[in-house]
Assembly symmetry: C2
Homo-oligomer: 249 residues x 2
């Protein structure tokens, strides 16, 4: 599931239909930055004219990209290129003390960042050949002067090379704005899997929790506008601070 | 959040607008059973004529009910009253052994079922006056000959009285079909909150797990077509079998 290429998905879902081909062309404009995040796309009538197709066909093509989350309709205002992921903070899985995890932005402390040779599974995740290189980052996140989350993050090289050049004290607290400004990567989608286990000795030390304390582990795959995986992350936090709500209809 | 009355939400969201009033009238037909679950509703043109309103207005009203999950559009076939909740099994939060929790239906064992006086918080949940009565059910769920989930379920009386009359060996493995056939209740929505703690002694005994073993607790509020809470449930299972995936765009 995490390995589906979005472009492939869009074209195969739409088959060889005319609107599927148009959807792929519109997506290319978003990926290239011709249509930047947050900006309105041209009116449907203008697009229909430009491509020499019926209004109904351009609407179908746009509907595909809305479904995929690349575009969004704003009532009465038009159709916009979606900005990068918002509301996907891993803190939303937790409630620490009085802090509401959904809105809190914890302080980030980079414990290490180094270039490594990726193992086979990790390289495959990023669509890279075996033996490719990546960045391995260890990050600790603080809230209310307590260490709350421990994160191991892998990013592909050379795409994230600019990050390697930047001193860690200039990184700030959030990774995705940095990937945008330094590497030109828009994080468009994330798939989080939650499981539970107990903390290893070194993890417990860094989180200031007892050895073998229960922890929630969130395994994240994040994807760019093309649907290519550009981040793999393991986040660990106190299981007893975990809280998640699902609304099913 | 779990206490929002759906009808109130529909009317207040739509204000005193014409389409909001129509939405409320359409909802009444679904709640009364005039329009049964799984059946198509009349064509938009026919409804517009019946209510003496514009086609655009009936479309807005229908859109409200689609948004609320009472109706669903099926491409090329029409608009249908949604059937009761599907895919909301609490097993979807777990993976036991080789079983894929998403599809497995565990065997149910009713350990107890008795009429009780509800405490204030529970009565309020069901929209009942203080001191109202309800059914308190303890259920254990088995998969691969092992006890997997322990459930404490509360249902309001007299709405669920028919269940009290039915011998527990005739209940079968699933509660919601039973609420439908015995009590005429369609479960339309569920809100599940997941947290973690350790098992109490008696819980550990029933789940055949060690004392103080970490467990996932799923707290469920389930709602009928009117948006009234008709079930409160606490489900406990082995934390290390927990697995949940969230896809964020």
């Amino acid at each position: 599931m995490a390995d589906i290429d979005l472009l492939q998905k869009i074209t195969s879902a739409a088959g060889l239909s005319r609107y599927g081909q148009i959807a792929a062309q519109l997506q290319a404009r978003i990926v290239s930055g011709d249509w930047p995040p947050g900006e309105a796309i041209p009116a449907e009538g203008a697009l229909a004219k430009e491509f020499g197709i019926a209004l109904g066909t351009i609407r179908q093509a746009i509907a595909v990209l809305v479904q995929e989350g690349l575009l969004e309709r704003v009532q009465g205002r038009g159709t916009f290129v979606r900005k990068g992921l918002s509301g996907a903070s891993l803190m939303r899985f937790f409630r620490f003390g009085g802090a509401d995890g959904a809105t809190a932005v914890p302080r980030s402390e980079i414990l290490s960042c180094r270039a490594v040779r990726l193992d086979k599974a990790m390289a495959e995740r990023f669509g890279l050949p075996s033996g490719a290189r990546g960045l391995a980052i260890t990050r600790r996140r603080w809230l209310d002067d307590k260490p709350r989350l421990l994160e191991s993050i892998w990013l592909p090289l050379p795409r994230c090379e600019a990050l390697q050049q930047l001193p860690v004290w200039e990184w700030g607290d959030l990774l995705y704005p940095l990937l945008g400004s330094q590497c030109g990567i828009t994080v468009h989608r994330a798939v989080d899997e939650v499981t539970f286990r107990t903390l290893a000795h070194d993890e417990a030390d860094l989180l200031e929790l007892p050895d073998a304390h229960p922890c929630a582990v969130v395994t994240r795959h994040a994807f760019d506008l093309r649907g290519t995986c550009i981040e793999y992350r393991l986040t660990r936090g106190d299981a007893f601070a975990f809280r998640y709500t699902a609304d099913i209809r």
